[in-house]
Symmetry: C2
Subunit: 223 residues, 2 copies
DNA sequence: CAAATATAATAGTATTACTATCAAATACTA
DNA sequence: TAGTATTTGATAGTAATACTATTATATTTG
């Protein structure tokens, strides 16, 4: 299975970057190490200067790939959603039963992330942590409407639309398919966050994911 | 009803501020105008210098009330949650039926905010917009665990616990009362955000709130 | 009226988030 | 293989940010 998809490239809207980091060694090092560094010190403290030092390169070289650290965060977010979408398609493609398909989708979207050896320069486990902790900051800005028009969030919207369709396939009369889909996606991230930082308002034992919570929720809601 | 509660003061954890802004004219002007200015230009562009200019006061004077703009955001968030809690208590107190009480709570937490004349220096409608757009940034930081220990998020946690209890009152066997409560609270904010900025992945007609979506969701989930 | 407290004004600092320029290394092409 | 283009690196510079520190001036309170 692994090598079956080794030629695959995750596609990120190309307006997000100045130069595609996938096309060079330096670009890949930028992405790889930005994930590690953002995880380490948080997005607020993260700077291109620090990243430059870490990869023994120059601040100005990083600016040739990404206009700003905000754009880099958009890149990482889009990459994650595209990667998740590819898993979603791959793992639900052959399921014909609508209920089963949706349950599988919820599992994929709320489970603990494992490393994917198809993309060696990206640590998906760390990237997922960034998505949980930082990805909201990519759209909670004053520029969101402009950037939305530019297509920066299309992968994110597409995955929600896809899950929305799976919900409608189970019950075409349910009127809130998209709202429920986005609630699962964002709620999944948020529940992972709460589990880690606010366990007193959480209902998960250690090692458990919110998958069961969401599977039961979605089933009873659209039944 | 209005004047019945005019002596009420919303209580915010006092470690959040250096000097309580409620105790002086300048303090109230700081809070009042920070709400307007953050709404206007966004939290990232907001600075104490700009706020100082706006209120014809000095940057250094604002620093005597709040250590940083992050602390100010924590203050505004806590104020909002405390205000919401007071509404929750007030409006559900006399309801004895557990189902009805919970439905009312969901309504309060997901509805459109109206101005409250009890607190003249705070524009609750604008404050709610800040909560939708910026409040996640108050806890999505590297310092969250330290600040949580300091009690900065206690109001937020209390309101979730309260709704969790209402859920358990309806069905004491439901195992995810707190998770569901936090999903409603955060999901409510997020759905309001999507309605505004990503209508293509939203299911609400203009003027409509996500209340119906959540009332139906919660009812069927815990039934 | 004196003393304490609050506010204002000014200056200063390290860092950030860039932009601009130029040189050196590397790759590609005739 | 020389010539050209592209990429990267090094350095410098800038306006703004997020503060701290100091001193002066109001204002409140005892």
């Amino acid at each position: 299975m692994k090598n079956l998809l080794s030629a695959l490239k995750i596609s990120v809207p190309d307006k997000i970057f100045i130069k595609d980091p996938e096309t060079s060694e330096l670009g890949k090092r930028i992405v790889e190490n930005s994930i590690i560094l953002i995880n380490d010190i948080g997005f607020e403290s993260f700077t291109f200067k620090k990243l430059g030092t870490r990869i023994c390169s120059n601040e100005s070289s990083i600016y040739r790939y990404f206009e700003s650290k905000h754009k880099l965060l958009l890149y990482l977010s889009s990459w994650y959603w595209a990667w998740l979408e590819y898993q979603l398609v791959l793992e639900t493609y052959s399921i014909t039963d609508a209920d089963e398909k949706l349950a599988k989708a919820v599992l994929i979207v709320t489970r603990m992330v494992k490393e994917d050896s198809n993309f060696t320069h990206i640590n998906e486990v760390l990237l997922y942590k960034i998505i949980v902790n930082e990805s909201s900051k990519s759209f909670l800005t004053k520029e969101v409407d402009i950037e939305n028009k530019e297509g920066y969030f299309e992968v994110y919207k597409r995955i929600i639309a896809r899950i929305g369709e799976m919900i409608s396939a189970v019950n075409s009369d349910y009127p809130f398919a998209l709202s429920l889909a986005s609630t699962i996606i964002e709620g999944g991230l948020h529940q992972h966050y709460l589990k880690e930082h606010f366990p007193s308002i959480s209902n998960y034992e250690s090692g458990k994911t919110p998958t069961n919570f969401f599977v039961q929720l979605i089933k009873s809601t659209i039944k």
